[in-house]
């Protein structure tokens, strides 16, 4: 005899998974996270403002001291024909030197400080693309470089009689150069693992290269191998074009200098974006 077992109700089919979106959700703040870029930028600018004795007054004092020493030791006070031309030649280079070191310091310092204090996560965890975080930092570097250049330029132009032939060109060169060294500062900040590494790159690479790139002397007058090596660094083109904006004197046609500057800034930007994307020395 078979007992009719009550029929088990058929098991419910497992609930269907929610349908996968066919495409990635659009970032709800639009294609570019402008707010995020602005916040990264503003954070760096607050840091710049807080450290103004070091970031603004320090470079100013430094450049004025160089200018005074050079004009007293080599310049018009010596009453030689060469001495009279020293200051108009050196002054534009010194202004650009202040701008470009300031821009590099800004981005290198902000990345290093975040890495050393362990709050780099604040930059990596928000929904920012690598290029967006990078843009915020580079924009801050550019702005601090230009702001830092204002007192230096005023001080130099008021104490010396250097003509300003083409202010627009000067501005363009300053913007391109501080973008370039701002990205270089990003690389320094990514590469350095201790504060001394950063100091070493500044002391052994950036400042010597900038000093030897024609700030103080015509590249053509330099001894034999040096005058060719110097043109391998884009800073030499920057200083040449910047000087052209003041005294009109230049070795390389200005448009070539601008092209070299823009090209190398772009290349460095892409390189830094790649490093950011793979998390080079940023993510464990």
């Amino acid at each position: 005899m078979t007992v009719e077992m009550p029929r088990q109700p058929p098991p419910l089919p497992p609930p269907l998974p929610p349908p996968l979106p066919a495409f990635r959700l659009a970032r709800d703040f639009g294609r570019v996270h402008w707010g995020g870029i602005w916040t990264v930028f503003r954070r760096d600018m607050i840091m710049f403002r807080k450290f103004w004795p070091i970031s603004l007054a320090g470079p100013f004092l430094n450049v004025m001291m160089y200018l005074m020493i050079l004009s007293l030791a080599l310049g018009p006070e010596r009453d030689t024909a060469a001495g009279a031309q020293v200051i108009p030649f050196i002054a534009p280079g010194l202004i650009l030197f202040a701008i470009l070191t300031r821009a590099a310091e800004s981005s290198a310092f902000t990345l290093m400080l975040r890495k050393m204090e362990g709050d780099i996560g604040e930059l990596l965890s928000p929904p920012l693309l690598p290029g967006e975080a990078l843009a915020g930092i580079a924009l801050a570097a550019l702005t601090t470089g230009l702001i830092g250049g204002v007192p230096v330029a005023l001080g130099v132009l008021l104490t010396t009689d250097v003509p300003v032939a083409n202010p627009l060109l000067a501005l363009v060169v300053a913007v391109l150069t501080s973008t370039l060294t701002g990205f270089f500062g990003v690389w320094i900040g990514l590469w350095s693992q201790r504060w001394d590494h950063m100091a070493a790159i500044f002391g052994f690479v950036l400042i010597p290269v900038a000093f030897l790139s024609g700030v103080f002397a015509r590249v053509a007058d330099m001894p034999e191998p040096l005058n060719l090596i110097v043109w391998a660094s884009p800073i030499a083109y920057a200083i040449d074009a910047f000087r052209a904006a003041f005294t009109g004197e230049h070795t390389i046609p200005v448009w070539i200098s601008l092209a070299v500057l823009a090209g190398s800034a772009l290349a460095l930007a892409l390189f830094c974006r790649y490093l950011f994307a793979i998390g080079y020395r940023l993510k464990a």
């Binding site: 030791a73 052994f204 000093f211 103080f216 330099m222």
Partner: protein, 273 residues
């Protein structure tokens, strides 16, 4: 009930069992400071030499064609001894400033305050280490400059005396800055606004007579000017100020700074709560 024994803490202070001066303790502190300095030799010994050479190159390049004639050569040989001395002085002041500021900011100053070292021994040991570190950094700088530019080096002992006095003076100055600066910004500010202008306005690059009127008074009342001038005199064979007078002014400034530093360390100014 027998009188309870005097608690040890109320007993009269024992004479220091190690003699009037704790030589071993001071020497230990000097050794610790010197080791701290030598550990980072690429930045502390080599980098200043590199910067000094860079300054020279900048000057030679800026002189341009003038560098060939005797007048330009005189400018360069004027600058060289000043730069060597500049390197020594900067290193001395940096060593003591950074040691004190670092220890306080990291909260490890009790390591130095707890041992039975008197204030004078502390200040003396820090300053000795600072001065020696400055002199050590000066060696590669002097040798490089000497090899490249063929300086005369007229009176080596006098040069060493001036370098030693200057280094000790700056090391004492570094103790004062290190006590004053309780944050890194303050260290940076002291260097940017006090020490670097003092060093630059001291005849490193320019003879004091060539400075415009208010600045030459600043230079003349700056003890650093006398040690740099004396060192240059000992190297090149001619100085603005007679060497004995320079030595006397340097020693007096050094003694004044020493007294001040020892007094402040003794009071525990910004060292003890």
């Amino acid at each position: 009930m027998p009188p309870s024994p005097t608690p040890a803490i109320l007993a009269p202070r024992l004479p220091r069992p190690f003699g009037r001066v704790h030589w071993l303790g001071a020497a230990t502190l000097v050794r610790r400071e010197l080791w701290r300095f030598l550990k980072d030799w690429p930045e502390t010994v080599l980098a200043p030499t590199f910067s000094a050479v860079l300054y020279v190159v900048v000057f030679v390049l800026a002189l341009g064609p003038d560098g060939e004639n005797p007048e330009g050569a005189a400018v360069v040989s004027f600058i060289l001894p000043g730069l060597v001395m500049f390197t020594v002085l900067v290193r001395s002041v940096e060593t003591t400033t950074f040691s004190l500021a670092f220890d306080r900011i990291e909260g490890i100053l009790p390591d130095v305050l707890m041992p039975p070292l008197s204030a004078r021994e502390l200040a003396g040991a820090y300053a000795t280490a600072g001065a020696v570190s400055g002199l050590i950094t000066g060696i590669p700088c002097m040798v490089t400059v000497w090899l490249i530019f063929d300086l005369p080096l007229a009176q080596p002992p006098v040069a060493l005396a001036f370098a030693g006095i200057g280094a000790l003076m700056m090391a004492m100055m570094g103790i004062l800055v290190g006590l004053w600066a309780y944050k890194w910004d303050r260290v940076e500010a002291a260097f940017a606004f006090l020490l670097v202008p003092l060093l630059f306005l001291s005849g490193t690059f320019i003879p004091a007579d060539a400075l415009p009127t208010p600045l030459d008074w600043v230079a003349r009342s700056n003890p650093i000017f006398y040690v740099i001038d004396g060192f240059r005199g000992a190297v090149l064979g001619e100085s603005t100020v007679p060497p004995l007078m320079g030595l006397a002014i340097g020693t007096a400034a050094c003694a004044g700074l020493t007294l001040l530093a020892a007094h402040l360390v003794g009071r525990g100014w910004r060292l003890k709560p």
